[in-house]
């Protein structure tokens, strides 16, 4: 368990989290206002980013793990049989 309270963690990280959301928003804006955006609108990577943002909007304590799995190749059990 974290050694600090949720309130203390929020106090410590609020501004950097705000900054990270702004960086994400600005990067998405940059892509959308750039030449050739129509060509990447349906790019699988853009869709993955959208799905990653959706994960952030859910609750739970395993969002980082779920984002990792979203960006991971599928493992097939028994591949070495």
């Amino acid at each position: 368990m974290p050694a600090k309270t949720a309130d203390a963690i929020l106090d410590r990280h609020f501004l950097e989290l705000r900054c990270e959301i702004l960086n994400l928003a600005a990067a998405l804006d940059r892509i959308e206002r750039s030449v050739g955006f129509d060509g990447v609108r349906d790019d699988g990577r853009v869709e993955l980013l959208r799905q990653g943002i959706d994960i952030l909007r859910t609750g739970g304590t395993d969002r980082a793990e779920r984002v990792q799995m979203l960006f991971s190749d599928e493992y097939q059990a028994g591949w070495n049989q």
Binding site: P2, A3, Q68, S72, D73, Y75, N80
Partner: protein
């Protein structure tokens, strides 16, 4: 606080880095053989590299009061050249009894290809035959989860390498449990862009505990920070974790794993 960086490629760093690391509390490093940024062309090229790792690098580290240990292999990126890889694996035993050699590593997968699997298995065969510890590199980014699972599958194909003699490196949120559930040691790499941050490493400790886990910088020729372990120490302190808990992760755990190597000799700091 004294710490050990159990994975850092010091041949790519300058002597000033040893000085800075020592000033931050580093008493020892272990350096796995790795990719030089280009594919080497001959077994003799690796022989020279292994001489550097086992002869000059411990001397240079000693100038700053840092104890230097190393691991030998041909890395996964170069494993696509199966013929060269087999030549290197055949040559490795020339160096296995040198002081400071801890075992075979960092072996593993990069793009999860059949050739990488072939050479990974042949490295395991050498480790089993010579009773060496094993240090394993797991792939990055999209390949990591699948590659880590494949690595564990290949480890479990055999029963002559006990899990507690294997360290699975570069674990992250989605692979740490795979390593720990298998009974393996694991390590988190504090690397700015492709691996873990000090804060996420601390999160993983809080979720999965401090047993059989360590942190490293994997500092190399890329954008990396050989003083990343002190950043982790600072993050843990910020969160109010005890000095004893932090010391276990950054000092005692690496020592416990390394001490399984019969050649391992360590002088504790005064």
């Amino acid at each position: 606080m004294y710490f050990i960086d159990p994975h850092v490629h010091m041949v790519s760093r300058v002597t000033d880095d040893y000085e800075r690391m020592r000033r931050m509390g580093c008493v020892a490093v272990s350096e796995p053989a790795f990719w030089a940024g280009f594919d080497r062309g001959s077994v003799d090229g690796f022989r020279d590299y292994f001489r550097q790792l086992t002869e000059f690098e411990p001397t240079r580290a000693g100038w700053s009061g840092v104890q230097h240990y190393t691991w030998l292999c041909i890395n996964a990126k170069e494993a696509e050249n199966v013929e060269l890889s087999r030549g290197v694996i055949e040559m490795i035993p020339e160096f296995l009894n040198k002081p400071g050699v801890l075992g075979i590593g960092e072996i593993g997968l990069n793009k999860n290809t059949p050739n990488e699997c072939t050479i990974f298995r042949e490295h395991l065969e050498l480790a089993a035959k010579t009773n060496e510890l094993v240090l394993i590199h797991t792939p990055h980014l999209v390949d990591k989860y699948k590659g880590t699972r494949m690595i564990v599958d290949m480890l479990q194909e055999r029963n002559d390498i006990p899990p507690h003699r294997v360290l699975i490196d570069h674990v992250e949120e989605h692979t740490v449990k795979v390593a720990k559930d298998g009974g393996y040691w694991c390590a988190m790499t504090l690397y700015p862009t492709t691996k873990c941050t000090p804060a996420r490493a601390a999160d993983i400790i809080e979720r999965y505990g401090d047993d059989h886990i360590m942190v490293n910088s994997a500092g190399d020729w890329g954008p990396s920070n050989p003083c990343a372990v002190p950043d982790f120490i600072q993050e843990m302190r910020h969160r109010g974790h005890s000095e004893a808990k932090i010391r276990k992760i950054v000092y005692e755990n690496p020592l416990e794993f390394f001490r399984q190597c019969e050649r391992f000799e360590f002088t504790p700091p005064e």
